[in-house]
């Protein structure tokens, strides 16, 4: 563990506090304003933690909701209080950035089932006085979007200028556009899909089984028992992390290079740089993420199948939509490959929707959407400016 990482106890405390009383803004909904979930359960009381950037304009037409990915959070462009690290999409969001907060009002909320202040398995169950753990109903992507829509209502915003996000964030974007077509002027699903594939479910199941196999998981009651399934969660992260990169990027970054040694040790230490790197990824992840949240949020992705909400007909999902779509994929992304984005585009075409589709050349795999990929920034900037022109929102560059 590197020297700048907080010690386990401290970060554990901060993480526990942030899960229940977050330092970001909070919308709290009492028991009589429950959230109706796909599972049929009415969840209440519940809360949603969020950050905003920029100013909402007078006619409330410049709001952009950004949806975060599996292990993301609301700190899209500000310091994460648990890790102390900069926002996860500061390359994309901020003053003068493609999502220019000098012009747009950006809202990013922690997802339902998450662990940074929105109701999740670490939240105290008012019925029992202890954390929900597995007593929290299973959450879906549509539930996450319902929660965000309630937040947007709470903020007094009717129509969003745009909803955007990558990976699981892109799934939420698609769900937003389908659940609330009249409230979404533009939608930008990046490195996403209209369903989670069998292969993706398989990887998630490996991760979940790793967590559940950790003796400290204790059927999800580890918080009240004062232990943490850190080993299981770290292994889950290591397995998942491999899926976020491409063979080529691993090869370029690590090759078969050895870690701080000249020869193989003929043992099971981290001989290779890639092993050391993955172990580090696993260890730092457990400092910032809750194991039960990982179970819930991966499950939400697995359950996602947009066509299934329309008897298997994806074009039906988009019938009559007036939303402008910008679908984006990356050439080396094998977790959410271009073929999945093309399915979305095909369905949008069948609905004669207004759609742009850009596949971006990148050798950095699924994670490309989080990285410095200039062509992605240029595309997003252009798409948003075009959409702003169409909606009559003042856009960066003074055009209206």
């Amino acid at each position: 563990m590197s020297a700048d990482t907080p010690s386990l106890e401290t970060s554990e405390d901060v993480k526990a506090n942030e899960a229940i009383t977050p330092s970001s803004m909070l919308a709290h909904f009492p028991a009589d304003e429950p959230l109706e979930l796909d599972s049929g359960v009415k969840l209440g009381p519940w809360q949603i933690a969020y950050e905003t950037y920029g100013e909402l304009n007078a006619d409330k037409s410049n709001a952009i909701v950004i949806c975060h990915a599996l292990t993301g959070d609301q700190y899209v462009a500000s310091t994460n209080p648990v890790t102390g690290k900069p926002g996860w999409w500061e390359l994309m969001v901020g003053p003068g950035k493609p999502v220019d907060t000098d012009h747009y009002f950006v809202i990013c909320a922690n997802v339902l089932g998450g662990c940074l202040g929105t109701t999740g398995p670490a939240t105290v169950n008012p019925q029992t006085g202890v954390p929900y753990g597995l007593d929290l109903p299973v959450i879906t992507i549509r539930d996450m979007v319902r929660a965000q829509a309630r937040l947007v209502d709470h903020l007094g915003i009717d129509t969003l200028f745009a909803v955007m996000g990558g990976s699981m964030g892109g799934m939420q974007v698609l769900q937003w556009a389908v659940s609330y077509p009249e409230r979404v002027f533009a939608a930008v699903p990046i490195a996403a899909a209209a369903r989670h594939t069998s292969q993706n479910i398989a990887f998630h199941e490996v991760g979940r089984q790793a967590i559940m196999a950790d003796p400290n998981w204790r059927q999800g009651t580890y918080i009240q028992e004062g232990v943490r399934p850190t080993k299981g969660l770290a292994v889950a992260r290591m397995a998942a992390h491999v899926t976020y990169m491409s063979d080529e990027s691993l090869h370029q970054k690590f090759g078969r290079n050895l870690q701080d040694r000249d020869n193989l040790t003929f043992g099971f230490d981290a001989d290779f740089q890639i092993e050391s790197y993955l172990r580090h990824q696993g260890m730092t992840f457990v400092d910032r993420f809750d194991a039960n949240s990982y179970l819930y949020v991966t499950r939400a992705m697995d359950y996602f199948d947009l066509a299934d909400q329309f008897d298997g007909a994806l074009p039906q999902a988009f019938a009559g939509t007036n939303t402008r779509f910008c679908v984006m994929s990356f050439t080396s992304d094998w977790l959410f490959p271009t073929s999945e984005s093309r399915q979305v585009v095909k369905a949008l075409n069948a609905a004669a929707a207004n759609v742009s589709f850009v596949e971006i050349e990148s050798d950095r795999g699924h994670d490309s959407f989080l990285l410095d990929v200039p062509e992605m920034f240029e595309t997003i900037r252009g798409f948003l400016t075009g959409a702003a022109r169409a909606r009559g929102v003042p856009a960066p560059g003074g055009e209206a």
């Binding site: 075409n349 742009s356 798409f383």
Partner: protein, 210 residues
């Protein structure tokens, strides 16, 4: 996918684009097939305030279009038109691309299915300069306007203007308007019979309807 060579300087509007723009009604829902760098869609957005979409074969072209705020997807006229519902667009435009498709007749029939009106621009293979090269040199024509050699041309299905009009008849498409153009895209302002245009026009723009 637009295969005509560039004949304009930056900022200058191409002649055939001007003609196409004159045929597109204000505020129409338009699909432009072969959007290239988006010049036509951009022109139509500015001058006709259209609700425009584009299909472009090259991913680089698509990315340039989207970055300038146009709604364009990567796609192939031969394969992807079947995705669209019937009569989805007020106007469907195919510029200088028909001769490069594998199945021009199928493509034309798809255009007429998805668009209430169809605008097609094509190079005229029967232009007198081409006729001369074939007649006197015995070589496949290579001109400034059609600069490819026979072995590297993407234009695999050439036709003359008369051939094209014949295809329209076969597809029950009515030629609402036809404009003959010079290589530079200037309108040939003559009211001449077809056989004359078929010799003097280097390209033509057709407005069709079924």
């Amino acid at each position: 996918m637009n295969l005509a060579p560039r004949q304009t300087r930056p900022g200058e509007v191409r002649g055939d684009h001007k003609v196409v723009a004159s045929l597109v009604p204000e505020g129409a829902r338009v699909l432009d097939i072969g959007s290239e760098d988006g010049a036509l869609l951009d022109l139509l957005a500015r001058e006709r305030h259209i609700d425009g979409r584009g299909i472009e074969l090259s991913q680089a072209g698509v990315n340039r279009c989207v970055a300038r705020g146009l709604s364009v997807i990567q796609g192939d006229a031969d394969k992807d038109l079947s995705d669209y519902p019937d009569q989805a667009f007020d106007v469907v435009i195919l510029s200088q691309t028909l001769q490069a498709t594998r199945e021009p007749k199928e493509v034309m029939s798809e255009l007429l299915r998805i668009g209430k009106r169809v605008i097609v621009s094509i190079p005229n293979f029967a232009h007198w300069r081409n006729r001369m090269q074939l007649l006197f040199r015995g070589r496949m024509p290579v001109t400034k306007y059609l600069p490819y050699q026979w072995y590297d041309t993407p234009n695999i299905h050439f036709c003359s203007l008369r051939d094209f009009v014949e295809l329209c008849h076969e597809l029950d498409a009515e030629v609402v308007k036809a404009v003959a153009l010079s290589a530079h895209g200037n309108e040939i302002p003559v009211n001449a019979p077809w056989w004359v245009w078929n010799i003097v026009a280097e390209q033509a723009v057709f407005l069709l309807h079924r």
